[in-house]
Symmetry: C2
Subunit: 199 residues, 2 copies
């Protein structure tokens, strides 16, 4: 009922993750009402991003300069590497301003059901990275989500890295700060109990 | 931390309605991982939509053909015009397959606080449309949301159209089909009572 061009735009927007038919329609109407120059800026930044973006050759983060901003910062502690699933998780830890090591982005978790084995993730790059500097005493911090697949990935990683004599740690799971026990799920409560520390 | 091009894309996406910083980040990462051809299709459909879309000269709907698909359909009942705020509301009624008249899109509701008076909406186009066919016995159905501003717009419209001898009706407000009375708000309950019909 809107004609071809809007229908096409709605269809393309609805392909994006987390955007259903109705949101796509709302976005499309917003876009057609936008000043032309602003819509063109949006379209161009999509094209630019897709054309210029690559993986960092060190940490596999998504970046447009190689090595990425974090890996090329000499002030970062290169002995400590946080292993994350996704560049967004890296972004989340960067926002804390509390982690000064480097990262390694796996781009997923092991999921045999979806055909994602170790070769689909950036494990080879991680091994190469560690083996290139055999004299460094690395600490690898697993910051992988505590889902079933995340757990399997964490197990796999620790088995993979043990022969290298690398220290493998894992971020704590427990009650979120400001969260109430009453509203916390049982698995998290159990994890928090298991991970208790002496004060 | 991702470099300029991704940051720019995130910024542009975050300008869209209903997309906050985190969603914009998620969308941006999805887009950079998309096949190049698909990202270009998305960018092109944005450009196409912005360049080709106009208001229908009859009903003010957003369209790329003028008159729009609804207005140019000879099977529609041109005596009945449903007045809606937004093309999305028109789309919602089209999905019902129960309305066979035409529409008129106001593109908003009266909102003096935001500087939206009758001249900012498509009232002039509506009046012209009705006055061009003085011998037709129109029914104008108000399908405007029952907010404070929507109520004011409905009142304004009925006053505006009364001198033309036009029949003005309003869609019913009440309990949604499948909704429970218990979970319905008081205003809707009151409306449903007021709008009761004999069975």
């Amino acid at each position: 009922m809107y004609g071809e061009t809007i229908a096409k735009l709605i269809e393309e927007l609805a392909r994006l993750p987390g955007i259903g038919g109705k949101s796509a329609q709302r976005l499309a109407f917003h876009i057609v009402k936008m000043p032309k120059i602003q819509a063109e800026t949006l379209a161009n930044s999509i094209i630019n991003a897709v054309n210029n973006v690559k993986f960092c050759s060190i940490c596999c983060n998504i970046t447009d300069v190689d090595p990425c901003v974090v890996c090329s910062n000499p002030k970062r502690d290169s002995q400590t590497i946080m292993l994350v699933e996704d560049p967004r998780d890296m972004a989340a830890y960067e926002r804390t301003n509390e982690f000064f090591g480097l990262y390694h982005v796996l781009h997923g978790v092991l999921s045999p059901m979806n055909g994602i084995g170790p070769n689909e993730l950036k494990f080879a790059e991680l091994l190469k990275r560690l083996q290139n500097n055999p004299n460094v005493e690395y600490e690898i911090i697993l910051a992988i989500s505590p889902s079933v697949e995340g757990e399997a990935t964490a197990m796999y990683t620790s088995k993979l890295l043990r022969p290298l004599g690398v220290k493998v740690t894992r971020i704590a799971h427990g009650i979120p700060v400001g969260g109430s026990l009453e509203h916390t799920d049982e698995v998290t409560l159990a994890r928090a109990l298991k991970g208790r520390v002496e004060i």
